[in-house]
């Protein structure tokens, strides 16, 4: 709990500091409306991240290093955690051909393009499935996105990509009644 409060306090301080004293634009990621769909024994959540991969990201994606984007899902009922899953989208770039590839761990899909705009749209889009039990009833599903520290092997340097999101982890919460949802 204290870790969560500390992280929120830190991100608030960073946002306020940047607003007051910096011309750094960075990105202000947020989730667009998430839709929930039940199929068989799985509940699927789909949506996209908005304003997450604009400033500076084209050059980061084309750096040659693999850039992962983590999504953490948790299903809770009251204070009880029913299920937790972690999905990762990653972007890589082939310097010689100038083409990008997005790999999504959730559906084991990959997408290739030489246009960075398409790659950005694809990496931001998600569809995650979690197995559920109808007895769970009404649950809170929370999705949180984050960026990891990445090692640039060519320069032997590790950097925290969260700086590009101003240390704010975008998150959203959906309340679903699994007995009723379609």
């Amino acid at each position: 709990m204290f870790e969560g409060i500390g992280a929120k306090l830190f991100s608030s301080v960073v946002s306020l500091s940047l607003l007051l004293f910096s011309s750094f634009q960075g990105n202000d990621p947020s989730f667009t409306s998430v839709t929930v769909q039940k199929t068989g024994s799985y509940v699927y959540l789909s949506g996209s991240l908005h304003s997450a991969f604009e400033n500076d990201f084209p050059s980061i994606f084309s750096s040659g290093a693999q850039i992962p984007v983590h999504f953490a899902l948790s299903v809770r009922q009251g204070s009880k955690t029913l299920a937790q899953r972690r999905f990762t989208h990653s972007v890589s770039f082939d310097t010689m051909t100038g083409s990008y590839e997005v790999y999504k761990s959730g559906g084991a899909q990959s997408f290739q393009s030489d246009k960075v705009e398409e790659i950005i749209a694809e990496v931001a889009r998600f569809r995650f499935g979690i197995p559920y039990q109808p007895s769970w009833g009404e649950v809170n599903i929370r999705i949180e996105a984050s960026l990891p520290k990445v090692n640039f092997r060519e320069l032997n340097k590790e950097v925290d990509l969260m700086v590009l999101w101003k240390h704010q982890k975008p998150s959203t919460k959906v309340v679903v009644d699994l007995r009723k949802a379609q």
Binding site: D56, S63, T95, E154
Partner: protein, 384 residues
């Protein structure tokens, strides 16, 4: 808006200069970073290298390696620039917050003891010398409070000694005056009795010749002793005033009646005025001032009593053309036991002052040696 203390203004000024300097420095830093960021964004080395045709695999590998390193360096630079701007802003923000907090805490820690000190000083000014401050706070404040406590203890001790000395002096003065005043009537009484004894021994038949005069002298001196006792009693008893509204002209005329046959007393009184004063006290005040004027007047020179209204006050002046008062004595005439007369306790004018104070009135005196004196009473009227 309360005026800021000097130390507060100095700290505020220091903070403003420091923070302004840091903000300015940050602005310059951010502007330069923007320039670098823009320059990096315009560098498209990889695109150019990709467009070059490579004739063999070795060239392609080398070019690929250069492109990868370049792209990684470009990305890293962008992130580092972003990171440094974030860190700078956060540090600046925290410095400002920390400085402000330190400023507030310092002000509280400096101001609170200073307020305590001011409060304690006020108490000392009001005569409470027993006030002591807890020796807490920063070391300078502890030292200051300690000095203050030492000073207040010394003042308290000095005040106690002064009070004791004053009491002793008052008793000495009182004893001297009482002894003197009692001795004055006793001497003629003793002489008369001795004379009666001698006559009784030498010529008892003629004792009746001197008896009426002797009895008269003894009666007069006993009356003097009674008056002396009355004076002391009046001064000691000066009670809480029971203020009421009355016409002072009527009372003044009443008082004058008993003096008018022997003295030339002239009245110029506005008849329609009223004063808010204790009636008994008023009688004592006017009688004492008048008696003083009579005692000072030689050759039956006239005494004038004037009364008129001025704004919300009634002014009563008693003027005589008597011996007057030396300027060096003017400041002391309302002190108890101070008298310039050969007869008297020195309590008359002290009683006047005491009664005027008790009735919210003011008594003033103007005098010139050899020309006479003027006592002025300023008393609240009905309107107030």
């Amino acid at each position: 808006m309360p005026r800021l203390a000097l130390h507060t203004r100095i700290i505020v000024l220091f903070l403003l200069i420091t923070i302004s300097g840091l903000v300015l420095l940050n602005m310059v830093f951010q502007a330069k970073q923007d320039e670098i960021h823009g320059a990096i964004g315009r560098m498209e080395l990889s695109e150019r290298l990709r467009s070059i045709r490579h004739y063999n695999a070795e060239d392609s590998l080398k070019a690929g390696e250069i492109m990868r390193e370049y792209d990684a360096a470009k990305a890293l630079l962008n992130i580092s620039l972003g990171n440094s701007r974030v860190v700078t802003s956060v540090v600046l923000f925290l410095v400002i917050i920390a400085s402000s907090l330190i400023f507030i805490v310092s002000i509280i820690r400096i101001s609170k003891p200073l307020r305590e000190l001011k409060h304690a000083t006020d108490q000392i000014r009001q005569g409470n010398y027993s006030v002591h401050l807890p020796e807490t706070g920063i070391s300078e404040m502890r030292e200051l409070k300690n000095s203050f406590n030492v000073m207040s203890r010394e003042l308290e001790s000095t005040q106690t000694k002064l009070l004791l000395a004053e009491k002793e002096m008052i008793w000495k003065d009182l004893s001297r005056i009482l002894a003197h005043e009692i001795k004055n009537p006793l001497t003629p009484i003793q002489l008369v009795i001795q004379r009666l004894q001698e006559r009784l021994e030498t010529d008892p038949g003629s004792i009746t010749d001197i008896l009426p005069e002797s009895v008269s002298i003894i009666t007069q001196e006993i009356e003097n002793l009674r008056l002396l006792a009355q004076d002391f009693s009046n001064y000691a008893k000066a009670s809480q005033p029971a203020r009421e509204l009355f016409n002072p002209a009527l009372l003044i005329r009443e008082i004058i009646k008993s003096y008018a046959q022997n003295y030339d007393i002239r009245l110029e009184l506005a008849e329609d005025l009223q004063v808010f004063f204790d009636k008994t006290h008023f009688y004592q005040v006017i009688t004492n001032i008048l008696q003083n004027a009579i005692d000072a007047s030689l050759d039956a020179k006239p005494i004038t009593i004037k009364m008129y209204g001025e704004r919300s006050y009634v002014v009563i002046c008693v003027q005589d053309q008597g011996v007057g008062i030396e300027s060096k004595d003017l400041a002391r005439i309302f002190e108890p036991y101070f008298s310039m007369k050969t007869k008297g306790t020195g309590l008359g004018l002290a009683l006047v002052k005491k009664l005027c104070d008790a009735n919210n009135a003011i008594v003033r005196v103007k005098s010139k040696a050899g020309e006479g004196s003027e006592f002025t009473l300023i008393i609240e009227d009905t309107a107030s």
